[in-house]
């Protein structure tokens, strides 16, 4: 082990860096005397809480907006859908009378879940209703020329 001190090391050790200024000592004393600042974490927490509240408000507004759009769309898709007032006898009309919009897949699924008979009954009702509505369309056609009127138009008298 080399115990002889390196002359350069000795020379360097003899150099002393500048002492710290009294100003630095005063500032450190001041900072350490003051209670530890907690404003930063508190501010961060407040900001986080604010951001969460804002996100919640935005989500609620978005949800309400979607809800109203859906209800408007529903109103547009089935506005005042006329109820079919059938001219059939009461007993038959009762079995056929239903809103004229098409049943959804869910309706069939629910019926099937209950029983196959119920699904069959539903399908029958749909079929009967479809027949009736077609008959009504024919009945209320705006232009229903008879053979006689057609003959008259064509001058085949």
């Amino acid at each position: 082990m080399n115990e002889t001190p390196d002359p350069l090391e000795t020379e360097l050790s003899a150099l002393s860096p500048h002492d710290i200024s009294p100003e630095l000592r005063r500032r450190i004393a001041q900072r350490l005397a003051a209670p530890q600042r907690t404003t930063q974490p508190v501010r961060r927490r407040l900001l986080l809480a604010g951001a969460l509240a804002m996100a919640y408000v935005v989500a609620v507004v978005f949800w309400w907006g979607r809800g109203s759009v859906h209800s408007e769309r529903a109103a547009v898709e089935s506005p005042n859908v006329p109820q079919v007032t059938s001219t059939l006898p009461d007993s038959r009309a009762a079995s056929v009378a239903r809103p004229c919009w098409e049943p959804r897949l869910l309706t069939y699924q629910r019926a099937l879940a209950r029983s196959t008979e119920e699904l069959e009954a539903l399908l029958n009702r749909e079929a009967a209703f479809a027949t009736e509505s077609r008959a009504q369309i024919v009945q209320f056609r705006a232009f229903t020329p008879s053979n006689a009127s057609l003959d008259a138009l064509l001058g085949d008298n």
């Binding site: 390196d6 090391e9 150099l15 002393s16 860096p17 500048h18 100003e23 350490l32």
Partner: protein, 165 residues
């Protein structure tokens, strides 16, 4: 409270000058280096009880704060950096008789690679052992020792060249 004050004063008296010198590697002047040391020392003092090696932690805090400061400084305009003229302020105090030699060491020390210079500063003026330096710089003890040797050798060589001129 008085006891605590004495306690931090003792730490500052013992390490303050070396801490400022250590910070000078990244801060171009004394005032900036003192700002860095102030911030690092406050952090150190408030969390000193939670660390195993307080001295290593103190110097590591200074380096961390100095690098933070330096990154912030880099964002400023180049003009300001030029105006600061880091070489204008000497790193060491001392009598005027040795002014020339001191200035030469000062200049050659600044020319050392940062990795060698920081080990040299921590060893000579910080009084840290190689294991402590290894902790501060997060390097192995052998690396710390070899960097110290390289730094001394390079400094010696450059000072010899300077003497010949």
């Amino acid at each position: 409270m008085a006891g605590e004050r004495d306690s931090w004063s003792v730490w500052l008296d013992q390490h303050g000058a070396a801490l400022v010198l250590f910070a000078r590697q990244w801060a171009p002047n004394r005032a900036d280096a003192e700002d860095v040391v102030q911030e690092a020392f406050i952090r150190f003092w408030r969390s000193r009880d939670r660390v195993a090696e307080p001295i290593a932690y103190l110097y590591a805090s200074v380096k961390h704060c100095a690098l933070d400061w330096h990154r912030g400084r880099d964002r400023q305009s180049r003009r300001e950096v030029v105006v600061a003229r880091p070489e204008a302020e000497s790193l060491f105090a001392g009598s005027t008789e040795q002014e020339e030699r001191r200035a030469a060491i000062d200049a050659k020390l600044r020319e050392l690679p940062e990795s060698q210079r920081e080990v040299l500063v921590l060893t000579i003026w910080g009084g840290l052992s190689f294991p402590q330096i290894a902790k501060v710089l997060q390097i192995s003890v052998n690396t710390a020792a070899s960097r110290y040797r390289y730094a001394l050798a390079r400094l010696r060589e450059q000072l010899a060249e300077e003497a010949i001129r």
